[in-house]
């Protein structure tokens, strides 16, 4: 029995070695493994699955077209992993992917998971392209392996802060953040920009990314009579928050970031979603250069787009584009080519700055009208 167990573990160890071997040397195999990490369980499942499907669509299309690297035909294989939106789980699956010999990772979804995982990818020397992590800290660590294809929180928070004070005419502003790297980062950038634009911050309250009861903090905010409440967080909290805000008779607009700007928010907030404003980095899917066409191809396979699928799709294409220029899938060679990226993605032109952020960085604001997100305007 013990011998049996030993044999199995020895075998799997050998297998792991052979696998990592084939990832790291260029021509050992015809299959190139790419990791994709997003929460596939928990409240953000729908967004996580959306990211994975976006990446999968790109991989399927590239495989269908056929990819030649170093004179031989190769096939991409996407390994999807679940990080449960938990920093701890994120580092475990990151290590798992590195051990499985992936040459690059598309992910993670949340800033809170992307940042701790980025150290592991950096140590392994493999490129990581996040489709949706927007915390400034992610690319500010000085890692040459950390990239993203979406505007960061500084860009988004700045746009939101200016918009709140300028176009929405807010004078007294209350802020709530969910204490995650994403929510806090966005709220802090918003606070800076709103203050700079002449708004007064009357309250800064906190919640967490599992909460459903915001009555107490909203009541406390009500006492300070703001005309705008900004929430840095995701839709599972934003939805009930919009409801409770109306129920308490709080006479203030609700403003949020991209974590709220999705179909699920509308479902959770119901009629109380009306008038809520939220931003999303990049362009609305139908104003993206390749948007309508992407929507058709995506929905034929995976159903309605939730949120970031176009970005996950672009992230894979950025990666493969760099592989093609390097004529290799060796991570070091791909990394050397990534800064030269100049690609027309579904979401728009993609170029990187020295830190690995996109230089495009458009942010679009949406408002809920008649139960649907309607574009207000796109700001740079």
């Amino acid at each position: 029995m013990t011998f049996h167990k030993f044999a199995i573990s020895a075998l799997s160890l050998a297998l792991a070695f052979s696998l990592s071997g084939c990832g790291k040397t260029e021509d050992a195999g015809n299959v190139i493994k790419i990791g994709s990490v997003a929460p596939l369980t928990g409240p953000q499942t729908h967004i996580g699955k959306d990211n994975e499907n976006g990446a999968r669509l790109a991989v399927d299309e590239i495989n269908a077209k056929g990819l030649m690297l170093g004179g031989r035909k190769v096939k991409l294989e996407l390994l999807g992993e679940d990080d449960q939106a938990e920093p701890k789980a994120a580092t475990i699956v990151a290590q798992k992917l590195v051990d499985a010999g992936v040459v690059a990772v598309i992910g993670h979804l949340n800033s809170g998971t992307t940042i701790p995982a980025s150290r592991i990818y950096h140590d392994a020397g493999i490129p990581q392209i996040s489709p949706s992590a927007t915390a400034v800290a992610y690319t500010a660590q000085g890692y040459n392996t950390a990239w993203r294809v979406m505007a960061n929180d500084a860009q988004q928070g700045k746009a939101l802060g200016r918009f709140a004070v300028g176009k929405m005419g807010a004078k007294k502003i209350a802020i709530i953040d969910d204490r995650t790297a994403y929510g806090q980062g966005l709220a802090d950038e918003f606070e800076k920009a709103a203050t700079a634009a002449g708004g007064e911050i009357v309250a800064h309250e906190f919640t967490n990314d599992r909460a459903t009861d915001f009555n107490a903090i909203l009541t406390s905010i009500k006492g300070k009579s703001p005309d705008l409440v900004f929430f840095g967080g995701m839709d599972p909290q934003g939805g009930p928050m919009a409801k409770q805000l109306k129920r308490l008779g709080l006479n203030a607009r609700l403003l949020g970031g991209d974590g709220m700007q999705n179909a699920n928010f509308l479902k959770l907030a119901g009629a109380d979603a009306e008038g809520v404003v939220a931003s999303s980095p990049g362009l609305p899917i139908d104003s993206m250069p390749g948007g309508p066409d992407f929507r058709k191809r995506y929905e034929a396979k995976h159903g309605p787009i939730q949120l970031y699928a176009p970005y996950a799709y672009d992230a894979v294409n950025v990666l493969v584009d760099a592989m093609k220029r390097a004529n290799s899938a060796v991570p070091a060679k791909v990394l050397a080519e990534l800064p030269k990226t100049d690609l027309q993605g579904v979401s728009g032109p993609i170029k990187f700055d020295a830190k690995g952020d996109t230089t495009g960085g458009a942010v679009t604001l949406y408002e809920v009208k008649d139960g649907a997100w309607k574009v207000l305007e796109t700001v740079k």
């Binding site: 369980t41 928990g42 409240p43 499942t45 729908h46 204490r179 309250a203 800064h204 309250e205 906190f206 919640t207 967490n208 599992r210 459903t212 009861d213 009555n215 107490a216 903090i217 009541t219 406390s220 009500k222 006492g223 599972p236 939805g239 009930p240 409801k243 129920r247 308490l248 008779g249 699920n264 479902k267 959770l268 907030a269 119901g270 009629a271």
Partner: protein, 309 residues
């Protein structure tokens, strides 16, 4: 003043839900000295079943008034939860009744995890939204906003508590429950069918849990497979705060915990000059809990009044 009143309303609504769930913990503890950690999950299953029924009814009979649809949801959820609790007790706890006390406790945690995962398989991992069926009427009362739903929740909770008290104090079943709580062996010798009494305790707790589940999901507008976990933990704390095993303790503990949480989250920032923010809401509530337990280890009203009644 209006803000304080509003926080009090927030706390009372939350507290009456805590109290209802706490009753389930305290009844089972009173009789078996078992902490039924799966109770929070029964609440969750109640909400999920009700939402499924509501969804199906809205599809089948779209003209039915909203209140009727929700009522139908509750009426299906109650027997579903009763059957579930009966099954849990029979399969998971009864065989361990003579085992050391730790064994059923671990089993309870196991049952809780199994139920959570089952719910995830059946209803999925997403947040399920509660359809806007109930009237959205709202009243202003000295500047505090109170919705009809909040009034119904508190009134229904108080009615259930009063009903349960009557059941325990005035009926044959109630007398049998009190006898079993005092001494299982003696009650058995006196001709009380202890197995039936224990089953009944679980079933009554589950029926209340089902109602609480529908209340929570209607109040927050959503349901989720892990919604029972934190709610269960808070309700259990409420039961301990009031004195576990004591019905009035659970009611008092639940209401108190709700109010403390609301006031804590609302005022802690201003009281500490911004040093501690509203994210210390739970810390504050548990700080009070620890404080009470240090000075009154058996809770505010003491354990198991039934013993001394």
């Amino acid at each position: 003043m209006d803000i304080f009143l509003q926080q009090l309303v927030n706390g009372l609504v939350l507290g009456s839900i805590y109290a209802l769930v706490a009753l389930g913990y305290t009844m089972v503890y009173g009789i078996l000295e078992l902490i039924n950690f799966a109770h929070g999950e029964v609440v969750m299953i109640g909400a999920m079943v009700a939402l499924s029924v509501i969804g199906a009814l809205m599809g089948a009979a779209p003209d039915l008034p909203g209140v009727m649809v929700v009522l139908a949801g509750i009426l299906v959820a109650i027997p579903a939860c009763m059957a579930l609790a009966f099954g849990i007790e029979k399969i998971a706890y009864r065989p361990l009744r003579r085992a050391p006390r730790l064994a059923p406790l671990i089993t309870a945690i196991g049952v809780s995890i199994i139920l959570q995962n089952l719910a995830m398989l059946i209803w999925g991992r997403q947040y399920i939204s509660f359809p806007p069926l109930l009237p959205r009427a709202s009243f202003e009362f000295f500047g505090a906003h109170i919705t009809l739903l909040q009034i119904v929740i508190v009134a229904l909770a108080l009615t259930i508590m009063a009903g349960l008290w009557l059941l325990v104090e005035k009926t044959r079943l109630g007398r049998a429950m009190r006898a079993t709580a005092q001494s299982r062996e003696v009650a058995q010798l006196m001709g009380v069918n202890v197995d039936r009494v224990i089953s009944a305790t679980f079933i009554i707790g589950a029926a209340i849990a089902a109602i609480a589940g529908v209340m929570v999901s209607a109040y927050y507008g959503l349901a989720h497979y892990y919604m029972g976990f934190m709610l269960g933990l808070k309700a259990f704390s409420a039961a301990v705060l009031g004195g576990i095993g004591n019905l009035f303790g659970a009611m008092l503990g639940g209401l108190l915990l709700g109010v403390i949480e609301a006031l804590g989250a609302g005022y802690i920032g201003d009281l500490t000059g911004g040093f501690l923010g509203s994210h210390y809401q739970d810390v504050f509530a548990f700080f009070v809990l620890i404080g009470v337990l240090v000075f009154r280890p058996s809770g505010l009203l003491g354990e198991r009044v039934a013993n001394r009644a």
